[in-house]
Symmetry: C2
Subunit: 456 residues, 2 copies
């Protein structure tokens, strides 16, 4: 008998799951229906800042697979169709055509919830709903922002100093605007420790970006045309023709919550390692709407990243397809870029290590991306955290230029393996003068911390 | 009572050992004497190709620490002094001043043998001893080659297609010479599988380097001035004003052999994990004169690399200094560059996996260094080997452009941890469009091989 798989959300997690299930089970065996309320399927939201910044000329190049391509592979993808209710008792979903308003019920045997995340918007503050105030979560958001930028825009204020804020600050610089970034924390990139975030602020300031730290936006002051003139903050008022929001996201789980599915403290759906939603047979969830296990802290958290979403989709699709796969959790890796500055982290920050009840120590070193004498050798700051007594690696943060960010993978793999900093010192990493000093910067940090961390 | 540490060889391993021991034990507690037959201490031999190529303008920038700097730290460094005999019974070494011929005996409590490697030279073939035929093992070699290049040189023939040959081919291109590289194997870079070496050959050919594979040099034909005119090979004759040798190296262990110390099959000194030479108290060895354990194959091999030498020195110096350190072995990581091409490997090649008695499978994939839509995304070919049945990762090879080589570190850490390819697929690696596709190329390869490797 043919099973019916229903997928809610046609981006990374949902369509990876659908595609992988289809690869393993033919249409006779598995019927697949996917619902997407937006205009686009399987696109790189992570690429939006570069499209807006002009490095990526063409919106369509952000689309990995169009609805037509999915349909050609035997997936009944219904665009602009919003699922409004999940009925777990009768195993069916209710959907509504966004344009026509027509609605219907669709039964399922297997259900994949991949509803993604939604940007945090301070909609209760005056002016934040005006035209010219833009989130950058979807391709539609990006198109709207580009339409605003086609007007006469000279000054941009970016609200929020996380990776989206930082990437959007770069995008505005790329477009020739004068850019102010306003954010709440003492230093930008609160995904880093403040001493590393300070390096990001200094570099951004050096690029001509005005960084206003420790400030909260209160109002977007509008002109007579209803468009922004300035952003009013607790630290003063900053002129703005366009306002970009990078305040982070939260899991979009209203639908799941209404169906009575289990949510974690972060508001994300809980799943087991196979990406099943516990307590209900044949219900799966993945991507930005779930929370994931952090293998270093042992805690669950919400991390919206396309790379996790793709892995979730692969795991779900493999399992629905009759295989066996699991997602063992994350170690907290994230990389980003602002102009020529590369920013990376994995594992735990100081505050995260403390919150996890760990007795930690930290070391910071300066090194270079290549042998010091090799042309183009660029400075790099590396911070490492280790557990006192055991010497277990806990975290790695890197801020530098070319060649800095992806070095964090060394730490990501070492954290996954539960290595000590002594073991990191001994690693057989790639060395040649164009690529690294004879001790890789990550190992220089490990050497510094190794003796200290070994003694309790 | 003051102990006396004698070090033979003042480059990476020897002087790292001396410096680390000195850091831990003052001059009252440990006297340190080091002998070096050459003109330089603690320099980057790996940097010589870039000095010759002109990317590094200044010889002295390759010197990490001068003899004077070592002496200022309380190390009695005797330059141009060759140790000619090790007398283990009476615990003393015999040394000779290279310039004056004066000789003497020096007693030791602890002895570090760090005599390095010597280049393979076909000195029995006609013409290979002529001026204008250059090895590139030492700074003196580099200076001699540069002196030749100051003559009117238009054509270079590089003999040998390993990483030194490839790097020297680039150096000659950088200097504007017409370059032919002649080597014995079917493809250059026999540290890669031939299918990956082919990519190196094609790229080098595309850069205008003539690559002659499967050929052996027979003679350097000399002109009336005694300088090269051509290199005669089994595949024909190639005009040459200068000849560069990149035929590899062997451990320089004549001294150790004469003293009756244990050598492995590779001719390198055997050591335990603490870098002690077994059977004799207080004798240590490290760097290019020892053989190391390959943790993937379980076999010992000779690998001349500055990064290992520095680690050996740190381990030896820590242990002599009263600490506890060990060198757990290598996984066979090596990276190199020819012009804009990056070349990397770790773990085992096909033939090495077969020689180790492993039942392996391989996958090759094409991916890009950045998200496909991001400017500068460059193609990258990744080959992965895994063990049949267990899915254990066995090896990783990468050939590509910017951002390719250091990705091999992912494999190096995963091999050290004994991960399976399934575990590699799940790794939380850094992702952002400027740095990686949403699946890192290494994970794309792991995905391809994962299902295959899992079934015996």
């Amino acid at each position: 008998m043919t099973e019916h798989l229903v997928v809610i959300g046609a981006d990374a997690a949902g369509m990876s799951a659908a595609s992988q299930a289809r690869r393993r089970r033919g249409a006779d065996d598995l019927r697949i229906t996917a619902f997407e309320r937006g205009h686009f399927s399987s696109y790189s939201a992570c690429g939006i800042p570069y499209w807006v910044g002009g490095q990526v000329a063409d919106r369509d190049s952000l689309i990995a697979r169009t609805p037509e391509e999915h349909r050609a592979r035997g997936i009944d993808l219904r665009m602009r169709t919003e699922v409004t209710r999940i009925d777990l008792d009768r195993r069916r979903v209710h959907s509504r055509d966004v344009d026509t308003g027509e609605s219907s019920w669709t039964g399922f045997d297997q259900l994949v919830i991949a509803t993604g995340a939604e940007p945090l918007r301070p909609d209760d503050l005056p002016g934040f709903n005006a035209p010219g105030v833009h989130g950058v979560q979807t391709l539609d958001d990006g198109a709207a922002l580009l339409a605003t930028l086609d007007r006469e825009c000279h000054r941009a204020v970016v609200v929020g100093g996380g990776y989206i804020g930082v990437e959007m600050a770069e995008a505005m610089v790329q477009r020739g605007l004068t850019v102010t970034m306003v954010h709440r924390s003492p230093e930008p990139m609160s995904t880093l420790d403040p001493d590393m975030g300070r390096l990001v602020r200094e570099a951004m300031t050096g690029m001509g970006i005005e960084v206003v730290s420790g400030a909260e936006a209160r109002e977007v002051r509008l002109g007579p045309d209803g468009h922004p003139r300035a952003v009013v903050t607790t630290a003063g008022e900053y002129p703005a023709d366009v306002v970009v929001l990078g305040l982070g996201v939260r899991p979009r789980t209203a639908l799941a919550r209404a169906a009575g599915l289990p949510l974690g403290e972060s508001g994300g759906l809980r799943t087991d390692a196979e990406m099943r939603v516990p307590g209900v047979d044949g219900v799966w969830a993945g991507g930005d709407c779930v929370e994931v296990l952090n293998r270093v802290s042992g805690r669950h958290q919400h991390i919206a990243l396309g790379t996790h979403a793709n892995k979730h989709g692969l795991v779900i699709g493999t399992n629905i397809g009759g295989g066996k796969a699991s997602f063992p959790g994350v170690v907290g890796t994230a990389v980003s870029k602002v102009c020529s500055l590369e920013i990376a982290r994995t594992g735990l920050l100081e505050r995260e290590a403390t919150a996890a009840g760990l007795d930690w120590t930290a070391a910071v070193i300066e090194s270079t991306s290549r042998a010091g004498y090799y042309p183009g050798a660029a400075p790099m700051t590396v911070k490492m955290l280790a557990e006192q007594g055991t010497g277990r690696l806990l975290g790695l943060q890197i801020v530098g230029r070319e060649g800095a960010a992806k070095r964090v993978d060394i730490g990501a793999v070492a954290l996954t393996a539960g290595m000590t900093v002594d073991q990191v010192v001994s690693l057989d990493l790639g060395y040649a003068p164009p690529f690294s000093p004879v001790w890789d910067p990550v190992q220089v940090a490990a050497r510094k911390i190794a003796s200290r961390a070994a003694s309790a």
